[in-house]
Structure formats: structure tokens, C-alpha cells
Amino acid sequence: MKEKFLITLTETTLNINAYQQFLACEQSGGTVTFLGTVRDFSQGKSVVSLSFEAYESMALKEMEKLAIIASEKWELHKIVIVHAIGKKEIGDAVVFIGTSSKHRAEAFDATRFLIDELKEKVPIWKHEFYNDSSSWLNATP
């Protein structure tokens, strides 16, 4: 049986097509994905760029824990959790979450759960750069 989870941190551009292909499954009637991107305005300031840092070994463990919890809560066929690390520009993709399942409801709920829990449980930090300053951010909803 093929792997059920695709979980990684990457310094390169997110390969969204590859993640979509991984999620494809003949038994699935629904695939739901979430794509997070760098926006141009934050904390009342224009964002020039940002950088993500991770405690990589722990982050990967926590991401896998979330995938296991999600697969126990919902009947899922495939799960993708990918987060970028390193410097990113406005509009760049920085996080991809995807689940596939027999019915759409499970995939919607599981994908929402995974992105919400990732923000809370996975040790990743965001450093935003503005024209005249920079800031390390705390978790945001």
C-alpha cells in the first residue's frame, strides 16, 4: 500500500501539483486543500518579505502526530502537510494542507483541524520584514 502521509518542511518552492497528485485516490470522493501565502500587509505595516524558522526535528514529529490524530478522527485516505522554511516573498506559498476522503465533509473538517492545530502545536516561527524594521510574530488566528 502506498504511503498515506506526505509530511515535510521545505526550503524550496512548494510543489503544489505533486501534493495534489499525492492526494488523488480512487476511493476518494472529495479532496480539500488549504494554501497559505505571504500577504503584503501585517501588523499595520507593509510587508516586504518574511522568513520562517523551524525546530525541524520536533516540527516533523508534531506534524506527524497531527496527521495521526486526524486519521483517527476522520476516515481519510491521504494527508499532506507541508510548510516552508527560509525567506519568502509576497504571494509565495508557505503552507499546504490537504486531505482526501470518501465524502467531502470529512476532508473539510480534517483540513481545517490540521491548519488550526499546526499553528498551535508545530514549532515554527515567522520573522516579518518591513521597509524600516522587522518583527517576530506570535501565533495569529
Binding site: G36, F52, E53, A54, Y55, S57, M58, A59, K61, H83, V94, V95, I115, L118, K119, E120, K121, V122, P123, I124, W125, K126, H127, W136, L137, N138, A139, T140
Partner: protein, 83 residues
């Protein structure tokens, strides 16, 4: 003396301009309260930089009486902001 090596991340790493700190102590193991006290003595401004959790061997330690050994992988984790 025993050496506790502590990984740093995010705002704490930036403020101390280092990705790790080393604590020397006569004890081979410290509980969480003792460890945080020692960190505060060595770096009195650390609590002004950020709140933080302590991870030991990639698990969050939040019970104050749980022991941390000098050979453990210890990390100070400011509030997360992934996604």
C-alpha cells in the same frame, strides 16, 4: 561541573545572537523550575524578550518537577507562528 546545552529559536535566538547557550551546573539533572531559574540568572532579560516553553528531546515539558538531564536535547520555544 555538568554542561546543559540549550537550543534557541525565533526572537530569543535573535536577541541573544546565538542558536544555543550553555549552562554549567554542579548537578547532573535539574527540574524545570531550577532550569528556568538558571537561565534567568545567566540571561536576566530573557523573559522580556519573549515568553517561552521548554522542550526536552522534542517534547514540551510543562510539569515543574520533571527532571531534565544534562545530556538531554533542550530547547527554548517562543510562541509559535507557523501557517
Amino acid at each position: 561541573m555538568y554542561t546543559f546545552t540549550i537550543k534557541l529559536f525565533g526572537a530569543i535566538k535573535a536577541d541573544l545572537d546565538s542558536d544555543q547557550i550553555k549552562l554549567q551546573n554542579s548537578k547532573e539533572k535539574l527540574n524545570l523550575i531550577e532550569l528556568k531559574r538558571e537561565i534567568g540568572v545567566l540571561f536576566p532579560n530573557i523573559s522580556k524578550v519573549s515568553t517561552y516553553k521548554v522542550a526536552v528531546n522534542s517534547e514540551i515539558y510543562d510539569k515543574p518537577d520533571r527532571f531534565i538531564r544534562c545530556e538531554d536535547e533542550i530547547a527554548l520555544l517562543p510562541p509559535y507562528a507557523g501557517g
